[in-house]
């Protein structure tokens, strides 16, 4: 049996961690359970979130941030109405994030009926292909709707089909998780399920918090758990603000101070036969990698931090990726929820059903299905609207997935 080496507890790293571990300090935890403390928590979260939102989502208004904090607080402090507050908060956030047109709102309302109908259908008929193969079915629906839209003349019907297709595409992984969640032992209510689709605490096309079943498992059950989760959430929001500051400084350093070219420009220069000096090229790549990583970290921490305010002790999306010792561990630490999505919908189903007598081949093929096929499908769906905007050939030319050589 191997021996695991644990670093000594008096290292600088551990001392720093101890200093910032305010969620382990009894006076702080006790104060945050008082009425004044709860208000202070919400105000602190609101300020940190607003700071991040100013840069990450500049089109968001301050009252939308207030609404998010109120919804999170409502879920945390009024557990009896949790599902209703979640549904209301998410609906409000979704409707106010859309362009202020009747068509957009009608499309969203239509989509919500579609999502609810999906839940009813898969619950009543577990052997239906939609229940057994949600991802493939949804992909067929999206691609099918796109093809139908191409056959329709320009007008309301075509716009409506495209709008609904766009919404289903945006929510595709949320619907998939909701369908899979219908198989769990204790199924969440429809209201809770619908509230987890692009929830009010934020998301990308990747569900942060996966589905309702995972969210329920991470919910704080005691008032002590809740306040610790909330303090951890605020720490994460503050950390997101600090990383955002670092990102802006890095941007100033590379663009204003050092005048580094963007990677795309450096690559184009190389292809023209006029390459930048090699150090400039490497500096550009390093700067853009750091910039993207910081962006991913800021967005992920803001989303998870806000969800923690609502009482969900979600794992961070990014957690010390440079300490990873293997590639698999790196993806676990770098983009956790995207990795989970690939594992849940590609890796596990493949692993359970293929090459059961050949362990290495089994793991290799499952990894290929997740990291190759799943990754391609995810990004293909993200960019499917390019086919509408710039045509088939143009979309293929711009399609950034590197798997199609």
């Amino acid at each position: 049996m191997s021996h695991t080496h644990f670093p000594p507890s008096n290292t600088f790293h551990h001392r720093m961690r101890g200093f910032f571990a305010i969620d382990e300090r009894e006076p702080v935890v006790a104060y945050c359970q008082t009425a004044a403390g709860k208000i202070a928590l919400c105000v602190a979260a609101g300020l940190a979130l607003q700071l991040v939102t100013l840069v990450v989502q500049p089109d968001h208004r301050w009252w939308q941030v207030v609404a998010i904090i109120l919804a999170a607080a409502g879920m945390a402090y009024l557990p009896k109405y949790r599902s209703a507050i979640l549904f209301a908060g998410t609906s409000f956030h979704s409707f106010t994030s859309l362009p202020p047109t009747v068509n957009a709102h009608v499309a969203l309302a239509t989509f919500m009926i579609f999502a609810w109908g999906t839940l009813v259908l898969v619950r009543r008929n577990k052997s239906h292909v939609y229940a057994r193969r949600p991802v493939i079915t949804l992909i067929f629906v999206v691609v099918g709707m796109f093809l139908i839209s191409q056959l329709l003349p320009a007008g309301m019907l075509r716009s409506g089909v495209l709008a609904l297709m766009w919404l289903i595409n945006t929510y595709i992984w949320f619907i998939a998780y909701a369908i899979v969640d219908q198989r769990s032992r204790h199924v969440s209510s429809d209201m809770f399920q619908l509230g987890t689709m692009q929830p009010f605490w934020g998301s990308t096309t990747t569900p942060f918090g996966k589905g309702a079943a995972f969210l329920r498992k991470t919910l704080s059950h005691t008032s002590l758990d809740l306040v610790i989760t909330q303090i951890k959430g605020i720490k994460l929001l503050v950390w997101a603000s600090i990383l955002l500051g670092l990102k802006l400084f890095l941007l100033w350093l590379t663009v204003e101070a050092l005048n580094l070219p963007p990677v795309e420009q450096a690559l184009a220069a190389y292809l023209r036969g006029e390459p930048y000096p090699i150090l400039i090229g490497w500096a550009a790549i390093s700067a853009e990698t750091a910039d993207f990583t910081l962006w991913l970290a800021v967005c992920g921490h803001a989303i998870v931090g806000t969800a923690r305010l609502a009482g969900f002790r979600l794992p961070r999306n990014m957690c010390r990726p440079l300490e990873a010792r293997t590639l698999a561990e790196f993806w676990n630490c770098y983009n956790f929820y995207f990795k989970e999505l690939m594992v849940d919908f590609f890796y596990i189903p493949t692993f359970l059903k293929t090459f059961r007598k050949y362990p290495r081949l089994r793991m290799f093929f499952s990894t290929f299905m997740a990291a190759g096929v799943g990754n391609f499908l995810y990004h293909f769906l993200q960019g499917i609207f390019l086919f509408e905007e710039i045509g088939f050939q143009g979309a293929l030319d711009r399609f950034h997935t590197s798997y199609l050589f």
Binding site: M1, S2, T4, F6, V180, R183, S184, R185, A213, F214, K217, T218, P315, A328, E329, N332, K339, E340, V343, Y347, I348, F351, L352, K353, R356, P359, M363, S366
Partner: protein, 79 residues
């Protein structure tokens, strides 16, 4: 060694490889709590297939089926 003890030893091995604490109760969450990741889950599944002959391709798989020792024992008993 009983089934529970065998499972515990197996899971402790997985936790040690991940440099995680190896003390846990039979009801503690292993995967949903992110103590162990999906690769560990696949290794555990292969062990369960070998130890108990469970055919996971026939099971409506959900991670909660194997999220704790209690869950695994329940699954083994039902099979």
């Amino acid at each position: 060694m009983s089934d529970r003890e065998t499972l515990r030893v197996c899971i402790q091995g997985l936790l040690e490889k991940k440099r995680r604490p190896t003390e846990f109760s039979d009801s503690d969450s292993l995967f949903i709590s992110a103590k162990l990741d999906s690769f560990s889950m696949m290794k555990l599944i292969m062990e369960l297939e070998e130890m108990f002959g469970i055919d996971f391709s026939r099971v409506d798989f959900d991670v909660s089926l194997i999220d704790s020792i209690d869950d695994i024992v329940r699954l083994v008993d039902s099979n």
